[in-house]
Amino acid sequence: MELKLISSSDIAVFVDGLLKAGKVVVAPVLKQSGKVFFKPVQSFAEVATDYIQTAFSAKEVVFPKVEELFTYQHNEEGGLDIKDHLDRIPETVVWGLRPCDAAGFDYLNKFFLQENPDAYFKARYDKTTLVTMSCNKCDASCFCTSVDSHPGDTKGSDILLTAMDDKFYVEVMTEKGNILINSNSALFTSTDTLSKEAFLAKPLTHFSMDEIKDKIQNAYASVEWKQASMGCFSCGACAFACPTCTCFDIQDEGTQDHGKRVRCWDACGLSQFTKHSSGHNPRNTQTERRRQRLMHKFKYSVENLGVVSCVGCGRCIRVCPSHLNIFENIQSVTK
C-alpha cells in the first residue's frame, strides 16, 4: 500500500484528467427526484459530493441490470451469426463509492470468479478501477461495523480517499490504483503518516459477526422468521439495491431471425423465483423467502465462499417500502 495526499481543489483536475484520457467515469449524480445514482459523467461538475449513500449500489458497473450475453442473426447462407460484445467494454473508473460497496465488489469477485469464472463479469471487472470515498456521515440504516467492516475500510478498493479539511488522504491499494495515480502523478504528494479516524463517521454497532456466526447455525428453525417477514411485500427492491445480491434470470428477446440473449437481475424475494413449471413452489410464503435471503447473506455464503455477504450498507432498509430491518431481524432470529 502507498500513502499519498491530494488537495481538495485538485480532485476535479484528477477526475477531469481521467475523462480526458478516455476513461468512462461512473460517479454519484443527484437527480431531480432527490436520489443519488451512479451515472457516467462528462465532467467533475456533475458529481454529487454531499450524500450518505447512493440509491442503488455500484455493482451495476460489473453486473448490469441487463447484460447482453450475445446477439444472433440469420445470415444469407442460411447459417446463424452469434456474437458476444465483450470487446465493447470500456476502461471504467467508479468514483466515490462507499467502502461498503467496495467490500461488495470483494464478494462479487469471489462469487463470479472463484469456481467457474464468468466471462462477462471478468471482462468488466478487469477494466474497472474503484476509487472509494470514506464515509464522514452515516444514518440509522448504516451498520457496516456490525459486519466486520468500517467507514474507512479499504477492502475491495483500488484507491481509498478520505476527506480531511482541505485535502484527501489517498491509500493506493492495488496495481490498478497505482496506474491511475501515475497517470497524473503531479497532483499527489507522498506521506507516511495516516490518521484518518477523526474524519470518519461512527455508525452504531448492533452485533458482532463472531457472535452471529455461531448462533446463525440454528436459526433456520427460529419461530421469529414469521414476525421478521410479516411486513414484507414480496418485491425485489432490497435485492436490486443490494451490492452483493447476484441472482439473475436469462431471457431471450427477439424473433426467429434475429435477437439477443440477456441476463437480468432477479430476486429470491419474488414469488416466481423458485416456482417450478409444475406449479409447485418450494418457497411458497414470504416467511420462507425472507429467511432464504438473510440465511444466504449470513450463513450460506460463509459456507460456500468463506465470507459474509452482507456489507452493512443499509440500502435494503432504506428502500424497503416497510423498512424491514435486516440487522434487527438477524438479531431476533439468533436470540
Binding site: 441490470k65 444514518d139 437481475w265 434487527e328
Partner: protein, 267 residues
C-alpha cells in the same frame, strides 16, 4: 395515542380481532407497519400523519388472511382502498374492524362495511396538491416533452416491482409481466420494457386506482409512477363519471356498462 392502544388491546382481548395491523416506531424512528396478535403488545402502536403506508395491501397476504378476524389501523387512503376491494368482491373471507383518527383527532372504530362506506364518503380525500401540480405541468407539455420526461424517469426503473407489490389493487396472483407463453412484456429492465410494464399497469388500474400514491412514494428509483394512474383516473372520471373507492356497489369502469356511457371514442 393511549386511547388507540387501549381500544386495540380490548379488541384483541375480547376476540373481535385476531391480528391487528398498525404502525410502530422502528430503531431509526421511522413509522413502520407492525403486526400485533396479543393485547400486551398494543402499547407499541403509533398513529399520526406520518403513517403513510397503505396497510390494506397486507389483506392479500396468506399469513394475514389466515388470521381471518383482522383489525386495521388505517388512514383514509387505506380505508378507501378497502372499500374499493370490497366493491370488487375481494376480502370476502375476512371479518374486518377499522380503527382510525378523524380530523378532530378523535378515535373512530368502524365495525362494518356500511360504517366504512359512510366514513370514507364523509372524509373523502382530494388529489394531493403537489400531484395535481405535476399533472398540470405534464399535461401542458408537448407530446415530445412528455415522452422525454417519462423516458428519463423510466430509464431508472429496475423492475423490482415494488410499485406492484405495495398496490392493494394489484392483487392478481399471476401478473401479465409473469406470463411467458406468450411473453407480453419484456422481463429485462430496459427503457422499452419498462414503458410496456408501466403502461400496462396504469391501464389495469384505470378507474380502480384509489390514488393513495404509495407506488410513487416508495419507488426505490424515485420515479413518480403514481402520476400515471392518477392521470388515468381523472380521465376515467371525466369520461364515465363515478369515483374509485367511493361506494360498496361501485363496480369499476372497465367491467361495467351503462346505456348512457359516452361512446364517442368508437369511430
Amino acid at each position: 395515542m393511549k386511547e388507540l392502544q387501549i381500544k386495540a388491546a380490548e379488541l384483541l382481548e375480547n376476540g373481535t380481532v385476531n391480528l391487528l395491523i398498525g404502525f410502530c416506531e422502528d430503531l431509526g424512528k421511522r413509522l413502520v407497519p407492525c403486526f400485533i396478535e396479543t393485547a400486551a403488545e398494543a402499547n407499541i402502536l403509533v398513529f399520526n400523519q406520518e403513517c403513510k403506508n397503505n396497510l390494506s395491501v397486507y389483506l392479500h397476504k396468506k399469513e394475514v388472511k389466515d388470521a381471518v378476524k383482522i383489525g386495521l389501523v388505517a388512514n383514509v387512503a387505506t380505508l378507501r382502498s378497502v372499500l374499493q376491494l370490497l366493491s370488487e368482491n375481494q376480502l370476502w373471507s375476512l371479518t374486518l374492524t377499522y380503527l382510525t383518527v378523524n380530523g378532530a383527532g378523535e378515535l373512530v372504530v368502524l365495525r362494518s362495511a356500511e360504517e366504512l362506506e359512510a366514513y370514507v364518503q364523509a372524509n373523502f380525500p382530494t388529489c394531493r396538491p403537489e400531484d395535481q401540480e405535476m399533472l398540470d405541468k405534464l399535461n401542458a407539455m408537448s407530446r415530445e416533452e412528455r415522452w422525454a420526461f417519462w423516458k428519463d424517469q423510466l430509464s431508472e426503473c429496475v423492475k423490482c416491482y415494488a410499485c406492484r407489490a405495495v398496490c392493494p389493487m394489484c392483487y392478481c396472483t399471476v401478473c401479465t409481466t409473469e406470463c411467458n407463453q406468450p411473453q407480453w412484456i419484456k422481463t429485462s429492465a430496459q427503457t422499452s420494457g419498462n414503458f410496456e410494464y408501466h403502461t400496462m399497469r396504469a391501464m389495469h388500474l384505470a378507474g380502480r386506482c384509489i390514488n393513495c400514491g404509495e407506488c410513487g412514494r416508495i419507488c426505490p428509483a424515485g420515479i413518480p409512477v403514481h402520476l400515471l394512474t392518477a392521470q388515468m383516473n381523472q380521465e376515467m372520471e371525466q369520461e364515465f363519471g363515478g369515483k374509485t373507492g367511493w361506494s360498496l356497489k361501485g363496480g369499476y369502469a372497465m367491467n361495467t356498462f351503462k346505456p348512457g356511457d359516452k361512446e364517442n371514442f368508437i369511430k
